[in-house]
């Protein structure tokens, strides 16, 4: 039996996620869209905290909410004149997109509700979720160690930095 606070928190988060997701893709002002995205990301971070993944939640807030959304905002401001709405999307296109998205949701949802018995598991206790453990596994070369992907991602980031510089540089 969950604590009530946890439950309430869950519902608030779920509501924020659902509503803000929908708003993100339906609003005609792109800056707003980015802002709704920010709310969704925060809500996601809350889920991570709920799951006891504090570090992940922190990363989510720092990188996603703090970094990426800011990038988006910059990009939007660079490419858009403020106050100018996006063009209305043709209804046929909207309907097609909606149908596809709803169908997808329906199929997946049907699958979830009808087959997935594992979906009704309870949350188990986790013993150790400290930063030391995470750091240990992240830099470990043993079995289940994540050093190689870690390095790969660092190289990727480097490449990305260089790429960003090259692309954005004025000729």
């Amino acid at each position: 039996m969950e604590s009530v606070g946890n439950l309430i928190l869950y519902f608030v988060v779920a509501l924020v996620i659902i509503v803000c997701s929908v708003l993100t893709v339906t609003t005609r002002q792109i800056l707003r869209s980015a802002t709704y995205l920010l709310f969704v990301l925060f809500a996601t971070a809350v889920i991570y905290f709920q799951m006891d993944y504090a570090f992940l939640g922190a990363v989510q807030i720092a990188v996603y909410a703090g970094g990426i959304v800011v990038l988006f905002v910059f990009a939007i401001l660079l490419t858009h004149q403020p106050g100018k709405d996006a063009q209305r999307i043709e209804s046929s296109r909207r309907i097609l997109g909606a149908v596809a998205a709803l169908l997808g949701v329906a199929v997946c949802g049907y699958g979830l509700f009808s087959y997935a018995n594992f979906c009704h598991r309870q949350l188990a206790e986790v013993s150790d979720m400290s930063i030391e453990t995470i750091g240990h596994w992240l830099l470990s070369t043993e079995k289940f160690g994540y050093l190689l992907p870690f390095e790969a991602v660092s190289v990727l980031l480097l490449a990305c930095i260089i790429g960003g510089v090259v692309i954005a540089r004025r000729r």
């Binding site: 097609l96 596809a100 169908l103 997808g104 199929v107 997946c108 049907y110 699958g111 087959y115």
Partner: protein
């Protein structure tokens, strides 16, 4: 003089060609001409030395048992088809080759000298392309000499092509004139067509006999023409036949066609009159004296083979006799002096051909062994004399043309007073060709007629008649040019005899034309290398002189003084006259065949077929592929959203299928 010096005779003109052609461009024009003449003079001296040594010297091993042998001085391999079938490039002297050396070098030297004057304008400045002209003359001389000393049939073919080339280049010397270009092209292509047959003939002959060499085809062990060797060569055909004739007959007929092309036999004569577009000395050298007798020379070379293969010989005989008459008939009405002379040449060469052809039949095979073969000797003799007097006539014509700047009779008339030397030289030439004793033509033509009568009286009468026509048309030309009426001087300079460079050759050739008949040809150029005992046949000689006189008399009556008779006759027989003037429409026929049938009927459709059908097929293939690709391209429209959409639909479909499967 050692016979091996013949190499020099061949080599000097070739070197002159390269020297004048390459270095001559930078040199003074006149100098190149003088160099050309000097080179030719040296060649001539050596050629005379060699030929006289061959005929009269005794220490060169060329005479054995009273038989003049063929001497091969030089014979390296040039191209090996197989181990045994090898083309060699050699030098061989036998009576006819030695005689040809003299003919070619003499006429060539005269023409070289004459051109010094002829190829200049009235102020004595050399024409454009002077050195080119001399280079080509040297090339021609080289080719022609190479042809006559050939040791094998293939070498003759090679030099056939080479003389064809030099002829092409010289006819087209004035390459800026369309007529000259057209004429040179025509000459080359017609002779090429004939050479194709020549080649086929060689192919057949060599396939069966396995050799090109004359010493295996026609020369016997004693080095002279031998019927036994020819017989065995023919026999290698093994009786193989094609369309009812033996393959050897086909081969020899084809080879004759090759010769007929060069020698302008009907119906391959059409190029020769047009070839007169070239400079007149060139016409004298190539198209009167030397190259055009290459065909006669070729048949004479293979004489024993033709003797054995009588069928081919009959064809030559008929073609020769017909051409002689046909060309003479046309020559009677031509108004262009060079054209008339050209047809005269055709007619005279046909005389030689006929003479060769009747030779084998004058009494049959056995009697040839007994010492006949008169026709062969007569033909070669006529070749020799004709070369001299026809060259003379052409050079005279050149002098006249140079003086009045026209080829047409109507622009000449009454020139005797202005150009006495030319007039006399021309008259000597006319008398020689008409066969009036003691001029050269009489002796040789008389023997030809004797040979013809020996084959059959009909042949003899026919040829006598042609001889009469010869006398008529030659004197017609002579009277029209030098008499007829007073000359109207159009230009500021009255026509006159030309400078000494041009007059000297006329005098020399006129002298030769007078005395050449006394050359003892029957001792020197016989088919089997033995002496041939002949004597004047008084009946034939008398009648032919009589016929010639009638011809001359007729010409005198019609053309000596201006009168109405020729016009009346022309009006009376206008159809015939027109046909003869238009050369019996042979050119039109060829024009039709080449342009309408081959060009429009074959080439154009083939080209269209290629572009339309064949290329069209590949283009169709390409465009089908292309449009298929365009169709498929719609799917790859580059819009990421449509990709995602399609992807999503696919993924959902898969999900649904999976679920349905699980359900079931």
């Amino acid at each position: 003089m050692p016979l091996s010096y013949t190499i020099a005779v061949i080599a000097i003109p070739l070197l002159m060609f390269f020297f004048l052609g390459l270095a001559g461009v930078k040199m003074d024009k006149k100098l190149t001409g003088v160099l050309g003449v000097i080179g030719m003079l040296i060649t001539t001296v050596i050629a005379y030395g060699v030929a006289l040594t061959y005929f009269f010297g005794s220490d060169q091993g060329q005479v054995a048992d009273g038989v003049r042998q063929a001497v091969v001085v030089f014979n390296p391999d040039w191209l090996s088809f197989t181990k045994t079938l090898v083309v060699r490039m050699g030098i061989m002297l036998d009576p006819i080759a030695a005689m040809m050396l003299i003919v070619i070098t003499t006429v060539s030297l005269m023409v070289h000298l004459y051109s010094l004057g002829y190829m200049c304008d009235h102020h004595g400045h050399a024409e454009k392309g002077f050195q080119r002209y001399y280079a080509f003359l040297a090339l021609f001389t080289f080719s022609m000499l190479g042809l006559v000393v050939a040791t094998n049939l293939f070498q003759i073919f090679i030099f056939f092509e080479m003389v064809g080339l030099s002829s092409y280049l010289l006819i087209g010397f004035y390459y800026q004139s369309p007529a000259a270009v057209h004429a040179s092209k025509k000459a080359f292509i017609v002779t090429r067509l004939a050479d194709l047959f020549f080649l086929l003939g060689i192919m057949i002959l060599s396939y069966y006999t396995g050799t090109f060499d004359f010493d295996q085809l026609v020369f016997g062990p004693n080095g002279a023409n031998s019927l036994e060797v020819a017989q065995s060569a023919i026999a290698t055909g093994g009786g193989a036949t094609f369309l009812g004739c033996s393959v050897m007959a086909w081969a020899l007929t084809f080879i004759f066609i090759g010769g007929a092309g060069k020698s302008a036999m009907y119906p391959l004569h059409i190029w020769l009159p047009d070839a007169m577009e070239g400079p007149t000395p060139v016409s004298a050298l190539i198209h009167a004296a030397t190259m055009v007798v290459a065909g006669v020379f070729l048949v004479a070379r293979l004489f024993p083979l033709y003797v054995i293969e009588q069928g081919a010989m009959e064809i030559i005989c008929v073609v020769g006799a017909f051409t002689a008459f046909y060309a003479a008939a046309i020559a009677c009405v031509q108004s262009d002096i060079k054209r008339a002379l050209a047809f005269s040449t055709v007619s005279q060469i046909a005389f030689m051909m006929t003479s060769l052809a009747v030779s084998s039949a004058d009494g049959g095979l056995i009697e040839i062994h007994g010492g006949h073969g008169l026709g062969f000797m007569a033909s070669m003799f006529h070749l020799f004399t004709h070369a001299m007097f026809k060259a003379l006539l052409f050079l005279c014509a050149g002098a006249i043309i140079h003086a009045v700047h026209s080829n047409e009779n109507s622009k000449m008339h009454g020139l005797h007073k202005y150009m006495p030397i030319t007039s006399i030289a021309f008259l000597i030439g006319c008398l020689a060709i008409a066969g009036i004793p003691p001029f050269a033509g009489f002796w040789s033509k008389d023997e030809i007629l004797v040979a013809c009568y020996a084959k059959g009286t009909g042949w003899g009468i026919w040829m006598s008649m042609v001889a009469g026509m010869t006398a008529f048309y030659m004197f017609r030309i002579y009277f029209l040019i030098f008499h007829w009426k007073k000359h109207e001087v159009h230009t500021e300079h009255a026509p006159s005899d030309q400078p000494w460079t041009m007059t000297l050759p006329l005098i020399i050739l006129a002298t030769i034309s007078i005395v050449a008949g006394f050359v003892p040809a029957h001792d020197l150029v016989t088919w089997d290398g033995k002496e041939l005992h002949t004597q004047l046949n008084w009946t034939v000689a008398g009648s032919s002189v009589l016929i010639a006189c009638i011809g001359i008399g007729l010409a005198f009556k019609m053309y000596y003084k201006e009168n109405e008779l020729p016009d009346k006759l022309q009006a009376r027989f206008s159809g015939l006259w027109e046909a003869a003037y238009r050369r019996f429409y042979m050119d039109e026929l060829y024009q039709f065949i080449t342009h309408k049938v081959i060009f429009q009927g074959i080439c154009k459709p083939i080209a269209k077929f290629d572009r339309g059908i064949i290329d069209g097929f590949f283009n169709l293939l390409a465009s089908v592929t292309g449009s298929a690709a365009y169709g498929i391209r719609r799917l790859q429209n580059g819009s990421i959203q449509s990709y995602v959409y399609v992807y999503l639909v696919g993924a959902l479909a898969l999900a649904v299928i999976t679920m349905v499967c699980v359900l079931i």
